[in-house]
């Protein structure tokens, strides 16, 4: 049988806090160095040390980035999950295990390859043996898959840049692992990596870091944050990159960073910054949004710009804090009490994390409202390939801010909340300017910003706010549409599902279905989303949650005659989306529709 080339999934079972992440990234990066299309998913616990972690590496010439529905090679390092990890394997799986775990591997139907990894590591450094043991499975995989030595070297130096001793020891461990496998294992490999033309422009980066860089190029000047997985690395990346990328003319810092006492305070700081004419942002996850909701209503009603970046984890409540989901969408769209509606930007790639990272500030200033960025753990904390980020294609949009008496005089009948231009967006002045000051408030206010409980005034204000946000629809990022000639079935999806949709599409086409896709990139949704629905016979709204949250939004906002076309396929178990789960559900749903 000829080996499978660049088309397999490796599952590595370890415990967190044992240094396995470095080993896993070395495998990922070395394959990437060889030009192999590869993706890595870290399934980690909410814990610092000792709980089970799995790292899934998928090589796919087809470009599939989902974790894959099958495991071809299983690496076993964790005693605690040993039997469970073994039990779930399909016959024929290659099992690479640490013999020093001293646990049985009773799977005669699999290919079982052992190595005394800890013992061998002890000969390099008794102290570091536990950490170093991981590098032996790197060596073992390098042997089986035929990963080039040069690629490993490059990945190692990337991982341990500047630490000479670490580079030397880890390279030695990998070489010994490779050598041991070669000498002791009687196994003719079924899986191989093969060098591909690597685009020299590509690199791997986490979505959260891309978001952080986008915010920096967007002119963020106030970051408030409260640590919460999986969003903390957005803030930490901003903190790390700001001094390298920006400095005031006098050498001072151009972005104030405040670690807040809680998410409520973090949102309040963004509000204060936006009110005073700054570009404030905070990053958080679902529980943080829940806490921020009161302030979010004030942003909306007092019309203050600000950016809140939500990296979705699994809810409700504390949920599965280190797993991924698209469960916050409907909450974001209508966060806070009373009638509200917020702009939500939904990146599906690391490039869009960067782009929406800077655009968010422009939209916030332009529409004088709070703008959400909405990603998830999968996109935010895993590494994705990009050809590089693109520089903002236009200068910063600071919106309708009156900065001088001349500008003020040019506006007839100015009032802080008066719709002079007919687009629902009023002009504003900043504290310190002395220009037509008002007392901003969350209570009812008239067009001049004066307290009012007049029913007509309240109603008119709310109608204008609706018009204002509605006016953003076709200015926000348009959907990405891939359309088939047949126009029979259309799939509407969003966010990190982008990384699984191609594989889902291929699986459905294998079943004889012709699929168009439409990736929604912002709420309120673009008019092209509606025309996509109009053009197709049946629409599936595909989501990583239980209730079909975008489906709910569409059902509320679409014209009634389109409602019978749309069907929800929503599924969430905390793991990144696997193609087969969703394609099976889509087929079942379409079958039901036929009946």
């Amino acid at each position: 049988m000829s080996p499978r080339i660049n088309d397999f999934t490796i599952n590595i079972a370890t415990a967190n806090g044992t240094g396995s992440q470095s080993a896993n990234l070395v495998i990922l990066h070395s394959m990437y160095e060889m030009g192999v299309p590869v993706s890595g998913k870290n399934l980690f616990p909410s814990n610092i040390s000792g709980l089970p972690t799995w790292f899934i590496i998928r090589a796919s010439d087809a470009g599939y980035q989902a974790p894959g529905d099958f495991t071809h090679i299983q690496v076993m390092m964790n005693k605690d999950t040993w039997q469970k990890d073994l039990d779930k394997l399909d016959p024929g799986t290659v099992i690479i295990y640490n013999q020093d775990a001293k646990l049985p591997v009773e799977r005669d139907d699999c290919i079982v390859l052992g190595m005394p990894m800890t013992k061998m590591a002890r000969s390099i450094s008794p102290k570091m043996a536990k950490l170093m043991a991981n590098m032996y499975y790197v060596g073992a995989l390098a042997h089986i898959l035929n990963i080039e030595h040069e690629a490993i070297e490059k990945a190692i130096s990337q991982q341990f840049g500047g630490k000479e001793k670490a580079i030397e020891w880890n390279m030695q461990a990998i070489s010994e692992g490779r050598e041991y496998a070669k000498e002791n294992w009687d196994y003719e490999t079924e899986y191989l990596v093969e060098k591909r033309e690597k685009d020299p422009n590509t690199f791997l980066i986490e979505g959260n870091e891309a978001t952080a860089l986008g915010a920096i190029y967007g002119g963020i000047n106030m970051l408030s944050w409260y640590p919460i997985t999986p969003s903390s690395s957005v803030a930490e990346s901003i903190i790390a990159w700001i001094p390298k990328l920006r400095e005031g003319d006098d050498g001072g810092t151009t972005c104030a960073v405040v670690q807040a006492e809680d998410e409520l305070a973090a949102a309040g700081m963004v509000l204060g910054a936006g009110w005073a004419g700054g570009r404030g942002m905070t990053c958080t996850s679902g529980p943080g949004i829940s806490l921020m909701s009161e302030f979010i209503g004030l942003f909306y009603f007092a019309e203050v710009p600000g950016v809140i970046w939500d990296v979705n984890r699994v809810g409700p409540s504390t949920g599965l804090p280190t797993r991924t989901q698209q469960g916050d969408l409907s909450m974001l769209y209508e966060a806070s009490h009373g009638d509200t509606q917020h702009i939500v930007l939904i990146p599906g790639t690391v490039n869009e994390c960067f782009e929406f990272g800077w655009r968010a500030f422009d939209y916030a200033d332009r529409f004088q409202t709070m703008v959400f960025g909405f990603g998830d753990l999968d996109l935010g904390m895993n590494r994705w390939s990009t050809e590089g980020f693109e520089y903002p294609d236009k200068p910063m949009d600071r919106g309708k801010v009156i900065r001088s008496k001349e500008q003020m005089d040019a506006i007839s009948n100015y009032g802080r909340y008066r719709d002079v231009d007919g687009d629902g967006i009023a002009y504003r002045t900043l504290p310190g300017s002395g220009l037509d000051p008002i007392l901003y408030r969350g209570t009812g206010h008239d067009e001049d910003g004066i307290y009012s409980e007049d029913p007509k005034v309240y109603h008119a204000t709310m109608e204008r706010l609706r018009r204002k946000i509605d006016g953003a629809r076709d200015i926000l990022p348009a959907p990405i549409i891939r359309e088939e000639k047949e126009k029979s079935i259309g799939i509407i999806f969003y966010g990190s599902m982008e990384n699984t949709i191609v594989e889902i599409d291929d699986m459905l086409e294998e079943n004889g279905l012709s699929i168009s896709t439409c990736r929604v990139r912002a709420l309120p949704y673009h008019s092209e989303v509606q025309s996509f629905i109009e053009r197709h016979e049946k629409i599936i709204v595909l989501e990583i949650n239980r209730d079909g949250q975008l489906f709910g939004i569409l059902r509320k906002e679409l014209p009634v005659h389109l409602l019978s076309k749309i069907h929800s396929v929503a599924y969430s178990d905390g793991l990144p989306p696997r193609a087969k789960v969703y394609s099976d559900m889509i087929i079942d749903t379409l079958d039901e529709v036929e009946l």
Binding site: G219, G248, A256, G277, G278, G388, P395
Partner: protein
């Protein structure tokens, strides 16, 4: 016709006024609003340079009643400090004048109060403290003394949260207590707070005439007047020539130099109070508390603390006024960044 008096920047007092109050007639808060107007005018602060901040409650409504030429933000309940923090970060040139109440600060907003002090936010934070929630019709707040009784309902059995003691413990750079009925003392303390750089807290006992002005209430006019333990007589001497002459006291006094060059003179009454010593401040608070009295004056002062924005090393230009060129890195920088990620 009398000639209107002008302050040091040639403005009449009317330039510092606000809208008509809608609070109950006789409310202590209205007296405080008048003192705010007086202090800002006498200190010659540009009204447009002030940002009025408040939370929710009777007290937090008052920014509508003073400084009508200043921008302001009546935010949400207990969260005024965080909004002030954000605004301060992007515009450190604004003079933040905040008004809160005892419910707003000591209950729902206690966390933000504490953390604003901890950061030494550059602001004046006035607590209009009456021991009850007024807007929701007279429930006890967390600052009500044990044994105090409001007009209706049972006596309070829980120990109070003393916001000044808490502020001293947190190392707040300026902590004072006063009484809305002590116009001269409150004006001098507020003017000093306005001359201070860093967090200045003034806890002002401000009787609620509707729900807790009965004699059994420790925060009623009569009770406070009879039980006011004055630490010292305070006189504020501005760094410019003052509108009214300030007399030199006959007895002992000490002077405190404030950030803007002005002076606060503390005239000894009884024994001398050293406001630089947090232990003395706490002793004064607790001794008065033991006797059911309210100690008023400058409790604690520590001028040697960096403010929140100083700690961060921000640019001299307020961040909100920085040109785009200093906020958006160059196109070349992004090329270098991409190249770095590519390992080139």
């Amino acid at each position: 016709m009398s000639i209107m008096k002008l302050n040091v920047i040639d403005l009449e007092k009317s330039e510092y006024k606000g809208g008509k109050s809608s609070l109950c007639p006789g409310c202590g808060h209205d007296q405080i609003s008048n003192v705010i107007i007086q202090a800002a005018w006498e200190n010659g602060i540009r009204p447009e340079g002030i940002a009025k901040m408040s939370g929710i409650g009777c007290s937090s409504k008052t920014p509508a009643y003073f400084l009508g030429k200043s921008h302001g933000f009546n935010t949400v309940h207990g969260r005024m400090p965080s909004v002030t923090t954000g605004a301060n970060m992007v515009n450190k040139n604004l003079s933040f004048l905040a008004v809160s109440g005892d419910g707003d600060t000591a209950s729902i907003g206690i966390g933000q109060f504490i953390h604003a002090i901890r950061r030494n936010l550059d602001m004046v934070y006035i607590i209009e403290n009456n021991g009850v929630y007024g807007l929701t019709k007279g429930q006890y707040s967390a600052t009500v003394e044990k044994g105090s009784k409001k007009k209706k309902g049972a006596m309070n059995e829980q120990a109070p949260i003393d916001l000044c003691a808490m502020a001293v413990n947190l190392g707040c750079s300026f902590v004072a207590r006063s009484f809305s009925g002590s116009k001269k003392q409150l004006t001098a303390l507020l003017r000093a707070a306005m001359s201070h750089k860093g967090m200045a807290i003034i806890d002002v006992i401000s009787p609620c005439v509707t729900f807790a002005n009965n004699d059994e209430s420790y925060k009623s006019y009569n009770y406070v007047k009879e039980n006011d333990e004055i630490l010292h007589i305070v006189d504020y001497i501005p760094h410019f020539s003052p509108i009214e002459a300030v007399e030199v006291p006959a007895g002992e006094f000490k002077e405190i130099k404030l950030f803007d060059g002005s002076t606060l003179r503390l005239e000894t009454v009884g024994s001398e109070h050293n406001p630089n010593d947090p232990v003395e401040a706490l002793r004064a608070i607790h001794e008065a508390d033991r006797e059911g009295r309210h100690v008023t004056g400058l409790l604690y002062y520590n001028p040697d603390m960096k403010t929140a924005t100083e700690t961060l090393g921000l640019t001299d230009t307020p961040l909100m006024a920085l040109p785009d060129s200093q906020l958006r890195p160059s196109e070349e920088s992004l090329e270098l960044l991409n190249a770095g990620f590519r390992g080139n």
